[in-house]
Homo-oligomer: 131 residues x 2
């Protein structure tokens, strides 16, 4: 099937807690990850929470990178949502994992925007044959 | 199980194409949806593409709302990622559907950040009894 977007929902566990609370570091890492992936950054926005935690977003020409961190759990939620066939999300993810000293990672990949939706069924449905 | 975040991945199909290409309208709608949900907006960033399409992000104290639109397909990818127990994502979604004249919607709900991860197994694992 044909989709418009590819979305990686990434759980980063057992990260370096200090890095997860360092807005400057996270902005650098996410920015470089965007470039490594081959995406085009358009707008960057980060926010530092008190007493801890950072949220960051980079809108790219191909959708977005976002990160939300919970240093107290050593956890960050990362999203890499891209469209087109040229972006290497895995390369960006590998770089982020290395930079944040991630020990465990869980990735869910979702396709976004089925361009054939709604799918018409009826005349073209496969028939069940009787031998 | 206990999770830090709740993420709605929403496919909005057969929307009003003109509204999907109207940055001002989309910024108003997403901003109001944030307030309707009870979330706290922190930073807003939108971008208009040529010849068409808009990307928008609102960082909220509870994570983020994002939207990416493809007017040529009448489609938008909406994400409502929240933490805490007080945000009403469904109310926000109902409002957005109404405002963008959405005809068909598909929602996938994902939990983010298992705070018991990694789950320890062993001593507490259920035993298989032999009768």
């Amino acid at each position: 099937m044909d989709y418009l977007g590819n979305h990686l929902l990434v759980e980063l566990y057992e990260c370096d807690a200090r890095k997860l609370n360092d807005l400057g570091k996270l902005e650098l890492v996410l920015g470089k990850a965007v470039r490594i992936s081959g995406a085009t950054p358009l707008k960057t926005s980060f926010h530092q929470f008190a007493p801890q935690g950072v949220s960051g977003v980079i809108i790219i020409a191909e959708s977005h990178f976002t990160i939300h961190t919970w240093p107290e759990y050593g956890y960050a939620a990362l999203d890499i949502f891209t469209c087109g066939q040229t972006i290497d999300s895995q390369k960006a993810l590998d770089y982020i994992e290395k930079e944040l000293d991630v020990k465990m990672v869980s990735v869910t990949e979702m396709k976004r925007g089925n361009i054939r939706f709604p799918i018409k069924i009826g005349k073209t449905s496969p028939k069940v044959g009787v031998c």
